[in-house]
Symmetry: C2
Subunit: 379 residues, 2 copies
C-alpha cells in the first residue's frame, strides 16, 4: 500500500473480568483477564471497531512495535496500520489474546486462585465459542455494541465465523480468511500427532511441568516442526529449500543433511522456547472441536448460519492444502444458501496456508477494497 | 484373480556372505547376511526369477504364511501367489529383507563382530545403491544371472529403478510402483520430524538403547503415527473415520476424542513394539538420499537412465499425495527420453500412497497383464 505506515509503538492493555464465564466443557472461570492491544481511534458513534482474532500460535500483538523491543513487530503488521488494508486511520482495531493463551490472558500458565499454583493441566479446554463469548465481554468493556468487522485467518477465521452465529447483532462484517468450516480427518490426525509428541515428553509431567522447573521442549519442538510442514505448500518448500545440502554432501549420520532439516529444527527450537505446551494442546483441541454445522445446524452448515446477519468476505489461497479453497467454498455455499451477502476471493498464492500472513498485492488489495466499502457505509 | 491361491507355508532362508561389501558411506561390512523367502520354482533356464524389494517398514515375508503362525500373511500376498498377478506357477519369486533391516538381515540390532555387542548407532547408513549391490550378491548366491523382473512399491520401487541403472544387464523388466525419482522437500521434512521424534526420545540413548534394556517407544510411535497420515489420502481418512467420536461427545480432556486419534495411537503402539528404531532412521535416510538424477545424471534423470536396458511398467495412484502421479510421470518421461519401452498406468484409487499394498482390480490386472507378457517372452 503506497504511503502505508506502521501502527507505531503500542502497549498491551489488560481487561479484568470478575464475572464468571461458563465454558462449553461445563467448568466456570470465576475471574479472568484478557490482554489486548488497540490501534487507531474509536469514533464517537463507536461503530468503527474491527476485532482481529488470532490463530494457533498467535496473540494480541497484531501490528506496530513494542516500546521495549522495536524489532518485535506485530504478526499482521503488513495488514494493519495507517494506510494499510485494515486502515487504522479509519478503524479502531483490536488485537486480543484468547483464553487459554500464554501471552497474558488467563491460561494454563496463570495462577489458579483456588490453589495458588499454575493451572497447568487443570486449565479447562476452551472452545471457539468460549473465546467468542469472552471477546464479547471485552467488547462490552470497550463500549462497543457492534463491530464494523470481525476478522481472522485460519483458527482466527473460525472465530470470525462463530461471531456471526453467536452474536449476529454485534457484527456487521466477517472476514473469514484461509478457513475451514471444520477440520478434516487428516487435520485432526496431524493435531493428534503434535499433542502426543507433547504429552509423551517426559518433561510434560501430566501438564504440571511448571512445578518441576522444566518444559516439554522436545514435544513442542516436534509439534512445531510438523505444523510448519503443513503451513507451507510442497512447491513453496521446494522453491525455498529444494534438496540443498547444508554441508554440500550426504553426511551418513544423524547430523543435518538438508537445508529443510536445518530450517525445521531451528523453527522447532525457537518455538519451544517461547510457547506454552498446555496452550498448544488447548488451541489444537479448540480447532478439532470447532464444528458449527454439527453444533448449531444438525449437521448442516447452512442451518447453523440461518441466524447470521453479517456480510462476508471469504478468502482462500490456491496452494493451501491444510485448509484448501474447497473448504472455503463450503462456507460460501452455506452463506449463499442463506442469501447472506458474501464475496469470495481465491488468491493465486504459492506459499500454502501461511499465505494468509504474507504480503500479496491481490490479497491485501481485496481486503482493502472490502473494508473501504465497510468504512463508506458509516460515512 | 479367479482361482488364485496362497503361496502356502513358507520358511525364511539365510544367505551368509563373507565377501566385504563396500558401502556408499565409505565403510565396509566385512561379513553380512540377508534373510529371504522364495515362492515358486526356478526354471532350468534360470530366467523366471522376480525380485521383490520392500518399502520403509517391509521385509522378506512377501507372500504365503509362516509355519509357526498361519495368521502371519505376507505383506503383498494379494499380489503374489499361484494364479495371482505375480503368478508363482510361472515365476520364481524372491522376497528379501534389506541390509540395515530388523527382520533377520544384518542391521543395527545384529551383533557387531568387532565388539560382540549390537551395532546400534554405529551401523552404517546404507543407501538404495548399497541394497541393490547386496541383492546382486543374493542373485549370485541363487544362481540368477538376470532377473525376469525386479519390482517394488514406494521405497521398493526406487530399488527396482536403481537395479536398471546399477545392473542393466541383470534385469529385463522393472515394475516401478507408487514411486518418485527422489523425495520432495516436503517428503524429507516429514522424514526429519519422524527421525527427531526418535532421536530425542530419552530412551534412544544415542542409538544404543539395546544396552539399556529399553526401546524409544515414544519416538517410534510418533514416527509411525505421522507416517500413517501421509500414507493415506484425506478422502480415505474421511471415508473411514470422518469426525466420528469414540465416546459420542467431546471429552474436554487429553483422552481420545475422535476415532482417527484412536486409530493412529493404536497403529503407533503396535509399530513401536515390533520395529527397530535404528532401522527406521536408516530407512528414512536411504529414502532422503535416493537421487539417481544427481548421482548419475548431473541433475538429469534422463541422463542417469542412459545405460538402462530394461523394459518398464510404472504405476501410480491418483490419490497418492506422498508420491503423486506427477512424480511417476517424471520417471516415465526420463524413460521415453531414452526410448526405453515403458508402460504407464495411473490407477484411479482413493486410498492414497497405501493403495500400492491394496487390492484394486485395475491395479492387479495391470500387473498381471504385464507379467503375462514377460512370461510369454520366455515361452
Amino acid at each position: 500500500m503506497s504511503g502505508a505506515g506502521s501502527a507505531g509503538v503500542v502497549a498491551p492493555q489488560l481487561a479484568r473480568f470478575e464475572v464468571p464465564l461458563v465454558l462449553d466443557c461445563g467448568q466456570t472461570l470465576p475471574a479472568w483477564q484478557l490482554v489486548y492491544e488497540t490501534y487507531g481511534t474509536l469514533n464517537a458513534a463507536r461503530d468503527n471497531a474491527i476485532l482481529i482474532c488470532h490463530a494457533l500460535s498467535g496473540h494480541h500483538h497484531v501490528a506496530g512495535v513494542r516500546a521495549d523491543n522495536p524489532k518485535d513487530v506485530g504478526w499482521w503488521d503488513n495488514m494493519v496500520g495507517p494506510g494499510k488494508a485494515v486502515d487504522t486511520r479509519r478503524f479502531f482495531v483490536i488485537g486480543v489474546n484468547n483464553l487459554g493463551g500464554c501471552h497474558g490472558s488467563t491460561g494454563p500458565s496463570s495462577t489458579n486462585p483456588a490453589t495458588g499454583r499454575p493451572w497447568g493441566a487443570s486449565f479447562p479446554f476452551v472452545t471457539v465459542d468460549d473465546w467468542v463469548r469472552a471477546q464479547a465481554h471485552l467488547a462490552d468493556h470497550l463500549g462497543i455494541e457492534c463491530f464494523a468487522a470481525v476478522m481472522g485467518g485460519s483458527l482466527g477465521a473460525m472465530q470470525a465465523l462463530q461471531w456471526t452465529i453467536s452474536f449476529p447483532e454485534r457484527v456487521r462484517h466477517a472476514l473469514v480468511i484461509a478457513a475451514a468450516p471444520r477440520l478434516s480427518t487428516q487435520n485432526i490426525g496431524f493435531n493428534e500427532v503434535a499433542r502426543q509428541a507433547i504429552v509423551t515428553d517426559p518433561d510434560f509431567h501430566g501438564g504440571d511441568f511448571y512445578a518441576h522447573g522444566v518444559i516439554p521442549r522436545r514435544g513442542l519442538r516436534l509439534a512445531r516442526m510438523l505444523g510448519h510442514i503443513t503451513y507451507l505448500s510442497d512447491d513453496a518448500m521446494h522453491e525455498k529449500f529444494g534438496r540443498e545440502l547444508v554441508g554440500g554432501e550426504h553426511r551418513f549420520s544423524l547430523d543435518v543433511d538438508f537445508e529443510i532439516e536445518s530450517y525445521l529444527r531451528y523453527q522447532g527450537d525457537k518455538f519451544s522456547e517461547r510457547f506454552d505446551a498446555n496452550t498448544y494442546l488447548i488451541m489444537t483441541k479448540a480447532l478439532d472441536y470447532f464444528d458449527p454445522a454439527t453444533r448449531y445446524g444438525a449437521g448442516k452448515l447452512s442451518r447453523a448460519l440461518e441466524g447470521a446477519r453479517a456480510s462476508f468476505l471469504v478468502v482462500s489461497f490456491t496452494s493451501d492444502w491444510r485448509f484448501s479453497p474447497a473448504r472455503s467454498r463450503e462456507i460460501v455455499k452455506a452463506l449463499l444458501d442463506n442469501r447472506l451477502p458474501a464475496s469470495y476471493a481465491e488468491v493465486d498464492a504459492p506459499q500454502g496456508h501461511d499465505a494468509f500472513l504474507m504480503e500479496h498485492p491481490d490479497y491485501q488489495r481485496t481486503v482493502a477494497a472490502y473494508l473501504a466499502r465497510v468504512a463508506g457505509e458509516r460515512a
